[in-house]
């Protein structure tokens, strides 16, 4: 069992969707690549080739877990970079063919902002609506397709509400119309099965730090034959798609995390699903509480709630005082003072998004943690309701 301590207080970490601690086995695998095996993977001598070999082994590991070919995996600096590359790289390489892009309205900010930036460059973007669970309807994807559509991007699983999108069906629609399909799998890769062949995706983004690997490492699957431009030009690393001296140690860590996930993912998903459902059951006993996202089609580790009459930032800091680390989609906690676009897209009112709480669990979550949070939360919600003018749902 791993414990997290901050200011000599034990932390119950409930924010695995934000980031994860690095698995000790991952650190062990990475370590030699900082000191003894520090070579540049582009160097011809054996020190460099040693690094190159480690890089390729990690590439194989990532490829294997998503059923891709080795040469279809490009390592990046983050999932954000991968998503930027997918959208901008496809848009610019295929603009002769068309200028229309389709994305869902619940994508991560890095997809949303890339899409908005492309709009400024003269591309047209359709933002797909979602239902109250955050699900994209493949029929609406199909009806949104135009003659000049070049890319469809719908995430595999949502980072805020955990909803798992019907990417297989969307992939089929995209392929029937001969349009590239990209999926952001940053939240799902290493947690639930993901197969690029079965889901008909042409591009898929993954991240190491969401699955017990290091921060600063991501990967993007680019199906063989896809026409795409790089964002970074230079020495031609990563098949010319991502010039930059390769972060060998980080990538070795990613590779190790993927190997561990391959072995442990299935059992872990079963364990976390049980915990998740127990947590949801407990939290929904609080009067005026609502589950955001789909009850079943959701990541094993995600739960997201709204509480009437209260605001999320206060709740987060109150939980923090009790050692619980969680997050909210409240406007107060964002730099823009706007509530989460995902919660608004599923039809929540401004003030309901204000009172949202995401509890995401992971490898080091125990049954005791679930019970502790379930015990503490009702009191914290009640206290904030006492301060709120809207109260007073009778507890």
């Amino acid at each position: 069992m791993l414990y997290f301590i901050v200011n000599s207080m034990r932390i119950i970490y409930m924010d695995y969707a934000a980031t994860t601690p690095v698995d000790v086995r991952v650190i062990k695998a990475m370590k030699p690549y900082f000191t003894d095996k520090f070579g540049n993977s582009m160097s011809l001598y054996s020190l460099g080739q040693e690094a190159k070999m480690a890089l390729e082994q990690s590439r194989s590991a990532v490829a294997e877990l998503m059923n891709a070919k080795t040469n279809e995996i490009i390592f990046t600096g983050s999932a954000t970079e991968g998503n930027n590359l997918a959208l901008k790289g496809i848009a610019f390489a295929n603009r002769e063919k068309g200028k229309h892009i389709i994305v869902s309205s619940v994508e991560h900010d890095c997809v949303m902002e890339s899409a908005h930036w492309l709009e400024k460059q003269g591309f047209d973007v359709t933002f797909l609506p979602v239902d109250k669970y955050g699900l994209v309807d493949p029929a609406i994807v199909e009806s949104s397709i135009r003659k000049d559509t070049i890319l469809i991007s719908v995430m595999h699983a949502n980072n805020e509400i955990g909803t798992i999108e019907p990417i297989k069906e969307i992939g089929e629609v995209a392929h029937e119309h001969d349009i590239y399909f990209h999926t952001d799998a940053a939240q799902s890769f290493g947690k639930i099965p993901f197969d690029v062949k079965k889901t008909n995706v042409d591009l898929a983004t993954a991240s190491a730090h969401k699955m017990y690997g290091p921060k600063g490492v991501g990967a993007i699957y680019v199906r063989e034959g896809v026409k795409i431009d790089p964002l970074l030009h230079g020495g031609g690393h990563e098949f010319g798609l991502r010039s930059s001296t390769v972060n060998v140690a980080g990538i070795v860590g990613f590779g190790e995390a993927v190997k561990i996930a391959k072995k442990e993912m299935k059992a872990e998903a079963v364990r976390l699903t049980k915990f998740r459902d127990r947590l949801i059951k407990n939290v929904l006993k609080i009067e005026g509480s609502h589950l955001n996202g789909h009850p079943v089609k959701r990541l094993p580790n995600n739960s997201n709630f709204s509480f009437d009459f209260i605001e999320g930032e206060g709740l987060i800091l109150q939980l923090d005082m009790k050692g619980i680390a969680a997050s909210t989609g409240s406007a107060c906690s964002s730099a823009s003072l706007e509530p989460s676009h995902v919660l608004l897209a599923i039809g929540l009112k401004h003030e309901q998004a204000h009172g949202s709480l995401r509890l995401s669990i992971g490898k080091y979550t125990s049954a005791n943690d679930i019970d502790y949070v379930s015990r503490v939360l009702p009191g914290d919600v009640k206290r904030l309701r006492e301060i709120s003018p809207f109260k007073k749902a009778r507890e």
């Binding site: 009437d308 605001e311 800091l317 003072l337 009112k349 301060i387 003018p389 809207f390 007073k392």
Partner: protein, 167 residues
């Protein structure tokens, strides 16, 4: 020493807010809200001999909103109305040590709520309303025009709950 985003003092007021809760039969109520972030603050006052004899608040908002609400009640309690209305958002922020830049608007909300509570008291009691108070009132009204609309569901729900409770 900062507790993450906030100073220790802000967190202290968030943990133990002073003068929090609903007031029975207040002499004046100020209901204000922030259009951007959605925070809402209700301030109740009791006035005796031109002094703010008692004051209470209810706030739907973040840590900064709750701390500034609590702070303004402490700053004005016992003061004459004229003196109380001189308290600015800067005074509130200063009394709390500091606030993150992005949270300064919360202190505006507190100052506005007091203005509105006093305005409500004066107009109910047919006191002549000073020009500056009237001007501030008009600005605040304009800014919070849609507020009741935004929170309509909550206000309706609350009314329902209260009705049920009375039966």
């Amino acid at each position: 020493m900062k507790y993450g985003l906030y100073t220790k003092k802000v967190m202290k007021y968030f943990k133990n807010p002073k003068n929090m809760g609903r007031m029975k039969n207040p002499d004046g109520v100020g209901k204000v809200g922030n259009q951007i972030c959605g925070d809402v603050m209700w301030l109740y006052i009791k006035v005796r001999n031109n002094r703010i004899a008692d004051i209470k608040f209810e706030t739907f908002g973040c840590v900064a909103a709750i701390a500034t609400s609590s702070m303004i009640t402490e700053l004005v309690k016992g003061k004459t109305i004229e003196r109380a209305l001189k308290i600015t958002k800067e005074d509130i922020v200063k009394s709390l040590g500091s606030l993150p830049k992005i949270k300064i608007h919360c202190s505006v909300l507190a100052a506005d709520a007091l203005n509105e509570a006093v305005y409500d008291y004066m107009s109910k009691n047919k006191h002549p309303i000073p020009k500056y108070l009237q001007e501030r009132h008009e600005r605040i009204q304009k800014e919070t025009e849609n507020l009741e609309e935004i929170h309509k569901d909550y206000i309706d729900l609350e009314k329902k709950i209260w009705k049920v409770g009375k039966k």
